[in-house]
Symmetry: D2
């Protein structure tokens, strides 16, 4: 059985990545692609790497007939997404890749994003889209909110540890290294090749990065009490990949066992042998997340590493994984391609 | 029906690329992987990006039982390959990725590679593996010789033009830009990141690059008289991709029409609209070759551009495409994934 | 004796590069820096790599008192430069880094740049700034027009050969590879790291690149008859560097001798041993140009390679070299730092 | 007055960087360059970016007449250095760039480097070469031991804080990001462009990196009691640069003031405005170290960032800075060039 889908915001990187992945899916057909500023253009012009595919011409959202659409991916900018989704048919299944429906508490949303939420009903309904931890809710959901790519990385490293209570909740430091595609296709000076390549720097440090809203929400919920982690992202001269280096206090072996057991049956989360660390090289272009654990020389301290591709497992791959659950498809369908190395 | 295959030389980039592609193939099963110096190791150690796959442990070639193998990919170094293949069962189907069986004339082989050929019988039997131009021979072949990655690029740009006689055969210049993975996983100073990134240079220029042997053989055969092109490859700081810029004398529109018609029905060769040029960005990790044609301001001159991924269409993708033909599979099977961009 | 200078357009890459170079010059003092949109900002904010220097605050051009300025560098955008320079004091020495005063024929200017020239008097007065070939004129000039960076590269390879008549003037092909900083600090999608890194492509091909105006003017003047070369630039994923690969017909040894003699006494142009090729790696951040010559296997054909740093020898280094001549300083002053490698 | 120097191990990156820097020094002349395996070669062959310089031919150490040498830089591999230095004239001033003389306690040396020290007399005599903190000792020293590049980065961030007692000594975490040239010109698979570019990973984590020996020694000495920091280096796809992200417990404002005061008079250490972070882009190719301090949202926590160029301030620039002190030269001589950006 074929599912018809639409992608809103198909002219950005996450939209293009969705198309790349869906091209490998036997049961999903792309019926509509929107791109407000590029409406009327062919995808071959916007993303020449997709020129071999038969794809709908980019259109405006208002031109889409949603009656024949089974599921809609929203890859729109933050704030735009909530406005658009509020106006979509109320029985349309939606996977949103923006930040708009990740935070359940409207006050938290406003705190991190600066504006009152414009689609409160949908916000209440939305299910947090970290597939491995919300499978049942996602299967039953109409609207799934994809996680932040950094937020996903940190949670893969930490959720089982917080649930199991094997790390000191007040001493968690997440030092993150992100590639540039996470910032999207936006024209900013610091994203130019000449500004970015051959150097690196922290950004949004000190507790200001918006993905902290997700960490606060999810980790506190798991722990049953407020948890506030320290989080410092860095921009690295590469196109894809996130590496999280997580400093925790706890017994390294116990931490390793906890993670190894938590992910033993997960197809997309691979826990490396104890003492080994992952590399973003080895997950590029794939839906896999690699996790490593090492003991520090300082007793009672451990380091947990998590690596994933921000555009795939951190965004569009996760979105397709969720769509598979919502559509009754096999969760892995279209997502098992090996990473691209070198 | 499942075909059992072996990959000899699985610890190099083309070996790993074969595994990545075959992972998407529904009817091929990997039964054996050899790697002389790394025999006994798991692929997850040699190529951690493949750790999610169930793969045979690396072994020595002599440990492989070829009786159950339908087809063998040889991704061994030049010179080694001819020795190994000479000793393999004579009824085993083989796709060789080395340079050893590309040149039909033993004297030409010795001229370009410096040693007398050690497997003359197999050399005589081998079919040149540029799929789009040798389909029937490949379907019937036992041993197919994969082309050089640079040689493939130049031929996609030039073969239809030489066949049709629409360019001056004595005035062809091929300026090539290659990414570094074409040099393999070898430990050479000029392949270090610190030596290569942020700069670029020509190499093997002046008529010394071995792929000229393939150009000479193939173009002369097409033209029915000796054709000698000028060929200058350059090493570019990127991991995958070849861009050929071909300077020809002829009518640009005629040249365009000739190429457009030649590749109209080809699934993997895409001719762009007249006046547009391809980019290696848009073929990365895929089996597609993009071709562009433009007129120069100088009358009677045209530029033909061809872009492909050296590890995929230029090597392992071509190899799988050939194997599909040899095994009676659909030619595109396992090869239709979209390029990875960004 | 100290010379006081101003830099107009100091917030772009060529402006910053001028400051970097002048910092090594014992006899030049920077008195004013303009940046229209960033007026009022400190250079430490605009270019944090210059934060250790004591520099004037960015101002608007109209705020500069030119009475105390000995020489003014104009690193403004094309078209803006001619308007600004037309309004500057007529006795102020000027080195212009834009394209506005490179072409002597107003019709040629309009053909390549699309607008009638707005400062014809100054255009007539301007001296073409390729130092090695216009030394005497530059020493006497009030207004020097810096060359295009691609135009400089091609001319270093070809001028002595055209002057000496040792190559076929109707068969010159210049295949150029440029790094991205040549495009400036402009916010364009194709200059983003995610769009540019790990791939490469031609641009402005077929005879449309504006630097052809310079080639036509200079090469025709040298030859005493019209010369039209074929020119195809490519964008390479690196920040600095231009490599020109020039295909010529002529005797390779003669070509080599001609170049070796022409540059024997030049401090900044290095001719490599016959048969060796330069790399952009080895000129990065310096004012040196490396030239190589090789014979092709095809008789009567040679390849000339030229490599330089587009921001230094191709632009700001050349500008300082010219300013030294105009100010009576030693030509090499401030310009002898070694390239940065790796 | 001109000082004659020799560089032992001039065929590696730190040797080449020394030459690049000394080229800007008015009072130092290079009299001898050694390179065991490349003895007899010209530097133009080994490092073509230095081809414009008049330099001695590479020789073997035994061929050098040290009687006319005022100071010798040793850029030899670890373990080799101690053997060579033990045999040099005992009145020769030496700046060693290896790890051999950094640790004062022979037991600590053996613990981290695995072999008994072979030059105990010299080890006892050596002064630790972090210029800003050992100026007086360095001025009087015969043998100065250059610091590790990572060790320098961490110490610039932390020494004043530990001295002033404004951070919790038991809660220091140093997450470091290093470019690849720190690993030298060695032929290792993980240093290949194809393995390194476009990805990143931790290495020598968990308390195993040898620069911890320096941290332990220096921080404990400052604190007057054992201090053990947590240290996790990561390999980043860039050629030059180290960024240290240091997590400390203490008052961010106090920490900032402490650092600002400590470095107020230092020419090469720049403390950014409070709340700003440095980037390795802005120190590339220079002897500057940029330091930033930010408060975290978690009370009592701060983040200190330090960025420098591993080959310059982290190694060869530091070495020249020390040599200047030992030779009675101005400390900044030859070291004030601005960073190369972009």
């Amino acid at each position: 059985m074929t599912h018809n889908i639409a992608i809103l915001g198909a002219s950005g990187y996450t939209g293009a990545e969705l198309i790349r992945l869906i091209a490998q899916h036997p049961n999903i057909e792309i019926k509509a692609l929107s791109g407000e500023r590029k409406a009327g253009m062919e995808m071959a012009e916007v993303f020449p790497h997709l020129r071999h595919m038969q794809l709908p011409t980019l259109c405006k959202i208002e031109e889409i007939d949603f009656s024949g659409i089974d599921l809609c991916f929203c890859a729109l900018p933050h704030k735009t997404s909530q406005q658009v989704i509020a106006a979509l048919p109320t029985d349309l299944k939606i996977v949103d890749l923006s930040a708009d429906f990740r935070l359940r508490d409207p006050a938290e949303y406003e705190k991190w994003y600066g504006n009152p939420h414009a689609a409160l009903a949908q916000q209440e309904e939305a299910v947090y889209g970290l597939t491995e931890f919300y499978r049942d809710e996602i299967k039953a959901a109409r609207l799934v909110a994809g996680t932040g790519c950094n937020a996903a990385t940190g949670q893969f490293a930490l959720r089982p540890l917080i649930s199991a209570g094997v790390v000191d909740l007040d001493e968690i430091i997440l030092d993150l290294k992100c590639a540039v595609s996470g910032a999207g296709r936006s024209l900013k000076e610091n994203l130019l090749h000449a500004e970015l390549s051959e150097g690196y720097n922290p950004y949004s440090f000190g507790g200001t990065h918006r993905h902290l809203g997700e960490f606060d929400q999810e980790f506190s919920k798991l722990a049953g009490r407020p948890v506030r982690v320290q989080f410092t992202p860095h921009l690295i001269p590469a196109n894809r990949g996130i590496l999280g280096t997580v400093y925790v206090k706890g017994d390294a072996e116990t931490i390793y066992q906890t993670l190894a057991e938590a992910y033993a049956a997960e197809p997309f989360v691979q826990v490396l042998p104890f003492g080994q660390a992952p590399s973003t090289h080895h997950v590029r272009g794939s839906n896999y997340c690699h996790i490593g654990v090492a003991a520090d020389r300082l007793p009672g301290r451990a380091i947990v590493f998590a690596a994933l591709d921000n555009l795939t497992k951190g965004s569009s791959g996760q979105a397709l994984q969720n769509a598979n659950l919502m559509l009754g498809e096999k969760e892995e369908e279209g997502l098992t391609m090996a990473p691209l190395f070198p």
